[in-house]
């Protein structure tokens, strides 16, 4: 199997984290998943500060971003990332419960790479996460400067 690239999962709900991880497990994608529990933590990771101050200074290959987050919400994180010269190359996938058109429009306007509504059905959910993980972490060639498992 191809080496998997690092995934940044920004998700505040531990149950969603668990379900997502379960889905990714099947493809052994969990080793390289970093979890940020709110928008602030996500930005700390991306800018290598706070508790991530000592990490190697490379971008994740993809960021799976929930929209409804404590402190700094997903759209704000997206805006920040897409307006930063170094971070804007990171592919961002919005992974949300919201089917609202305005959230979708706002995300695309900010330059999101994909918008995925979490299916209520578990099998659909697992499939969606698996496909996302496989596509972004294995099939897709991440931009230069991204972390890839050796």
């Amino acid at each position: 199997m191809e080496p998997a690239a690092r995934i940044l999962l920004v998700e505040d709900d531990p149950r969603d984290v668990e379900l997502t991880m379960t889905a990714l497990e099947d493809y052994n994608l969990t080793n390289e998943v970093v979890i940020a529990h709110d928008g602030e933590e996500a930005l700390d990771y991306l800018y290598c500060r706070g508790k991530f101050a000592s990490r190697d200074n490379q971008n994740p290959a993809v960021m799976l971003l929930d929209l409804k987050l404590p402190k700094i919400d997903g759209l704000e994180v997206l805006e920040k990332v897409k307006s930063d010269e170094k971070l804007r190359v990171i592919p961002v996938v919005v992974l949300t419960s919201s089917r609202e058109e305005r959230d979708m429009v706002a995300s695309y306007k900010l330059g999101v790479n994909a918008y995925v509504v979490k299916p209520v059905d578990f099998h659909e959910f697992v499939n969606a996460i698996k496909e996302l993980g496989v596509f972004w972490a294995i099939i897709n060639e991440p931009p230069p400067g991204s972390i890839r498992k050796k």
Partner: protein, 510 residues
């Protein structure tokens, strides 16, 4: 001199009496009068002379000249003067019966000539003055008549018209004003108009008058109090009158009663305010609904997903440790959670109908129905007898009308499922007044008309879920869409006799 005065007085008297006489009109008559009066004077003078009354001829001739001047004009007066001079010379200055004058009588003759010419001159001047006076009096009379007529005309209008001088004192008050305000002309004239009418001015009166003087006019709304204490709102138009030397002399104010209109406007304004308040409330409610829908979309789906997800995981991990009953419970949990997911999605779709902007255009129902039918999943095994009649072109939002048709047609398909030969007919019953009534008729299970009022309610169902699946939101969606198009939706049915759903939609933009 007293003689001349008396003559003037005499002519004056004659003038006053003149209206009874007919003054000679033609030139011949006038000159004849001059000659005749001199001749009479001469006759009288000769007669009196014969009886030795001397000195009478002098005033007689002067009198003749005066008569001629007065009644016959300048020419005859001069004629009378010349004739009198000659006659006086011929008959009454020595030597008699010649035109010579002796030195003794020359002074006497010259005095006569002087008096005669003075008298002629006086008469002519006086006549001229008199004529000028008469002329201006006639003009004045004509003017008075004209003014009276105008004033009468101003009385014909129901507008309230008054004139005020530059001291704000009323000098004219028409009948309209009399009737409307309840002050008679006598009561109004001489009063200050703003005191009489207790006017409420939009700007100070001095400023208003200054504007009228500057621009010549002013127009605006004023409040007046009538004699009976009633308040009136009038549309007032002021125009300035100037004299020949361009000094402002008076202001004409024309007032139209707009109290009713004003009250109407006031009512409309109040209603509009009320409406704006209601619209605001409605908007707030809509916002609330939107917030609710948003949180439904977001916050209710997450726990539902977790329920489903972890139940699935439980099933996967511990299925073998459960007995049949346990597995059924888990399946029920899953089923219920999924159903709730569908309900939430339907509710969201339903609330979206009210929230999204509509894009209205001409929509061909023919085309739309065919499109819907081609995408309708075929019912298992059975062939439906479709009867699609001619359908009109309507005016509305394409995707919404499509959704309404999808709901109505899939309902028809659903409720004819138990029939051995399902039949569905779609057509248009009437098209008038920019409105078309379209129907979808089936030969399905139908419903009892006593529940017709529940048909279009959210989550209302007239059949059990075991018999016919569904969340009960379809017809509510149809109704909401048709209402947004300004139409109406209703149904006719009998239990087990099929159902017909009607809806009306506009056929063109209004």
């Amino acid at each position: 001199m007293s003689l001349i005065q008396s003559i003037i007085r005499a002519t004056d008297t004659a003038t006053r009496g003149k209206s009874k006489l007919n003054a000679p009109r033609s030139a011949i008559q006038r000159y004849a009068l001059a000659v005749a009066s001199v001749a009479v004077a001469l006759g009288c003078a000769i007669l009196t002379n014969r009886y030795h009354f001397r000195g009478v001829e002098f005033p007689l001739f002067l009198f003749a000249i005066a008569i001629s001047a007065w009644y016959a004009g300048i020419g005859p007066a001069i004629t009378a003067f010349v004739l009198s001079s000659l006659a006086f010379n011929y008959y009454f200055t020595e030597p008699y019966y010649t035109l010579y004058v002796t030195r003794e009588d020359l002074v006497y003759y010259l005095v006569f000539l002087l008096f005669a010419s003075l008298l002629t001159w006086f008469s002519i001047v006086r006549r001229r003055v008199e004529e000028a006076l008469r002329k201006s009096r006639d003009e004045l009379q004509i003017e008075v008549v004209k003014r009276t007529q105008q004033a009468n005309l101003l009385n014909l209008t129901s507008d309230m018209i008054f004139v005020r001088d530059m001291d704000a004192v009323i000098t004219y008050w028409n009948r309209g004003a009399e009737q409307f305000y309840g002050f008679t002309e006598k009561e109004a004239i001489g009063k200050h108009h703003y005191e009489l009418l207790r006017t409420v001015f939009p700007i100070p009166l001095d400023d208003l008058v200054a504007e009228v003087v500057r621009t010549g006019q002013w127009e605006g709304e004023l409040e007046h109090i009538k004699a009976n204490g009633e308040k009136a709102v009038v549309l007032s138009r002021w125009s300035l009158q100037r004299d020949e030397s361009d000094r402002p002399t008076a202001i004409l104010a024309t007032n139209t009663d707009i109290t009713d209109r004003k009250q109407g406007e006031e009512q409309i304004r109040a209603l509009n305010k009320e409406l704006a308040k209601k619209a605001g409330e409605l908007e707030a409610i809509n916002k609330e609904l939107e917030a609710f829908a948003y949180s439904t979309s977001h916050d209710l789906r997450a726990p539902l997903r977790h329920m489903v997800g972890f139940t699935e995981l439980l099933q996967k991990h511990a299925s073998s440790t459960f007995d049949e009953k346990g597995r059924r419970y888990m399946a029920t949990i899953l089923e219920a959670a999924k159903k709730m997911g569908t309900l939430i999605d339907d509710l969201l779709a339903f609330s979206r109908i009210g929230r999204v902007e509509t894009r209205e255009a001409n929509v061909s129902l023919d085309y739309l129905v065919n499109e819907v039918l081609s995408e309708m999943p075929a019912p298992d095994g059975k062939k439906i007898g479709w009867k699609i009649r001619e359908l009109p072109e309507v005016y509305g939002d394409h995707s919404m009308l499509r959704l309404a048709l999808v709901n109505l047609i899939s309902n028809a398909v659903k409720f004819t499922r138990t029939r051995s030969r399902p039949e569905i007919e779609i057509g248009c019953v009437e098209k008038k007044n920019n409105r078309a009534v379209v129907f979808v008729k089936d030969n399905g299970v139908g419903f009892d008309m006593k529940y017709a009022h529940k048909l279009f309610g959210v989550f209302q169902r007239l059949h059990s879920t075991e018999m016919f699946e569904g969340t009960g939101i379809g017809l509510a969606t149809v109704q909401r869409i048709i209402h947004r198009h300004g139409g109406r939706v209703w149904a006719e049915s009998a239990l087990d006799k099929g159902a017909t759903f009607y809806f009306s939609v506009p056929t063109q933009e209004n």
